[in-house]
């Protein structure tokens, strides 16, 4: 796998600029109650974006296998098991799992891009394995991830906390970000780099940005107060068969242009 960072002079995200985008992003997150916050490290003063959320999954356990070991079945802690009410499915049980996800956005000074770190565990503290995470990835992204999982999500040490996290490989970030950003600047539209990037890579690992992050900024004005917000209905991105729309403020651009990326 090659990292194509060389080539034409792409937009380069400096660390200071990264922090500014994060500040702006957090402000917006607070406005819409999306739960992102900034964490500063005590020793060096650098920091990262952080968000926690819970995912509830219903998992059907085949009747004849619910007693035996089935893949990771014996390790799945089901917080609540109910009998199915449907007679035709009476033989099976439905287990509800609650998974705790943590997402961190850090800045990579080596690649000059933001990097998404995440980890997930069941309520009993047992962490999800890489396999379990892959299986939980939205179906439309699984195809591209299956081509080369080692190039896309790997387990790495968190550079500030020193604990194992999963990481979405940052190598290809600059390619698609640059093309969108240069196009937006031609139209004098302000794009928050973090919103753009996170709305594109996040869904790959179960992190969706509400459409409320999108707003129509008037030409050359980035002041929140004077922005006319385009109100969009919250969009259930996770369950549809199509690729979820990215929540950034370029009406003419849709995800078909960006494609589903092999990162």
């Amino acid at each position: 796998m090659s990292c194509s960072m060389a080539g034409e002079e792409d937009f380069v995200l400096e660390e200071k600029r990264f922090k500014q985008y994060c500040e702006e992003f957090i402000k917006r997150s607070q406005q819409i109650g999306d739960g992102w916050e900034w964490r500063t490290s005590k020793d060096l003063g650098d920091g990262y974006l952080s968000k926690t959320h819970y995912q509830v999954r219903n998992r059907k356990i085949p009747p004849d296998l619910k007693e035996k070991n089935h893949d990771n079945c014996e390790q799945m802690l089901c917080t609540h098991v109910e009998e199915s009410l449907d007679d035709s499915q009476a033989a099976g049980v439905c287990a509800t799992e609650v998974i705790h996800y943590e997402y961190h956005v850090l800045y990579s000074s080596s690649y000059r891009v933001p990097v998404l770190y995440f980890r997930a565990c069941f309520l009993d503290g047992r962490p999800l394995t890489l396999d379990e995470i892959w299986k939980s990835v939205h179906a439309c992204y699984q195809a591209c991830l299956l081509e080369g999982p080692w190039d896309t999500i790997t387990q790495q040490e968190h550079p500030i906390l020193g604990q194992p996290f999963f990481v979405l490989h940052p190598c290809r970030t600059n390619e698609f970000i640059s093309s969108v950003l240069s196009s937006s600047r031609k139209h004098d539209r302000h794009i928050n780099y973090i919103t753009l990037w996170l709305s594109t890579v996040g869904p790959v690992v179960g992190l969706n940005l509400p459409m409320s992050y999108a707003k129509l900024a008037p030409e050359q004005d980035t002041n929140d107060d004077s922005v006319e917000r385009q109100r969009v209905e919250p969009h259930e991105a996770g369950r549809s068969a199509q690729a979820p729309s990215s929540a950034f403020g370029l009406g003419h651009l849709n995800t078909a242009d960006l494609g589903v990326h092999k990162f």
Partner: protein
């Protein structure tokens, strides 16, 4: 006067005599003898301990064996750190052999990365090399190489083949004739006492006036507490590959000659022994 190339060999062939002991709570069918091994400083624990694993598995039942992990005096050892770094950081001022405890149960999920196959080690190793080249050459050199060259770097490390490795690695140590060095130096500074696993920042080997930055300059910029003496006494040691290089050493030279095979300078700041 030693040739600079001799330094490359000395770094590559550095070894640490190690004694592996099975954790006392592991369930065995008979007594487990300790296993002695010379560990290559430049390699990774899970890459060079197949014999250790086999030795202890002989006295255990299959169902008692899950992923192997190593610990030193209660601290789980991160297999993704080079062995020499782990030793310098945790045990350099203790008596040899290095005593490592072997575990097959209760993998510490919060501390250690999993390592289910050699592919994981290879992926990690190559990711480090790519990141190092992103810093040194904006990834131009690593990207120009073919897949087989990348493979040769890994095979050279895995099979302990100095010539095979350096046939390719020397290209990663070159720089354009108009420059005096790399764009930025790939380095990480480790201190066992901090929660942060390491410090890594952008640092240029050449000052604006053309002078070569030194190891001392790097530390002053990135980790000043390491070299500022408290009470006029130097409380810490700055260690790379088991030695304390002079602070006046140009960082460009250190990067070319004392990096690990992953092309990073892994630097330990450790307490100076009081005797």
């Amino acid at each position: 006067m030693t040739d600079d190339k001799d330094v490359l060999r000395d770094v590559w062939f550095g070894r640490i005599p190690t004694c592996f002991t099975l954790y006392q709570d592991e369930v065995t069918e008979r007594e487990a003898e300790p296993y002695y091994l010379l560990l290559p400083r430049i390699s990774y624990l899970t890459l060079v301990t197949d014999k250790v694993k086999k030795h202890f598995q002989k006295v255990m039942r299959q169902e008692e064996v899950s992923e192997i992990w190593f610990e030193y005096e209660g601290t789980p050892l991160k297999w993704h750190y080079p062995i020499g770094l782990l030793f310098d950081l945790h045990a350099s001022n203790t008596a040899l052999p290095w005593s490592i405890t072997v575990h097959f149960k209760n993998f510490p999920e919060k501390d250690l990365l999993h390592c289910h196959s050699k592919d994981v080690i290879e992926a990690h190793f190559m990711a480090c090399i790519k990141e190092a080249d992103a810093l040194k050459h904006k990834s131009q050199v690593i990207n120009e190489m073919q897949k087989k060259d990348h493979k040769q770097l890994w095979m050279g490390l895995q099979n302990d083949k100095f010539e095979q490795f350096w046939a390719i690695n020397r290209k990663l140590m070159e720089y354009p004739p108009e420059d005096s060095g790399f764009r930025y130096i790939p380095f990480r500074i480790y201190q066992a006492t901090t929660e942060r696993p390491f410090i890594q920042k952008l640092f240029r080997p050449i000052a604006s006036g053309g002078e070569l930055h030194t190891l001392g300059d790097l530390l002053k910029d990135v980790c000043p507490s390491a070299i500022t003496p408290e009470d006029g006494e130097q409380k810490t040691q700055v260690m790379i590959h088991g030695i304390e290089p002079m602070l006046e050493t140009p960082i460009q030279w250190l990067s070319e000659h004392m990096s690990y095979p992953d092309n990073f300078l892994h630097i330990s700041i450790i307490p100076r022994p009081t005797d």
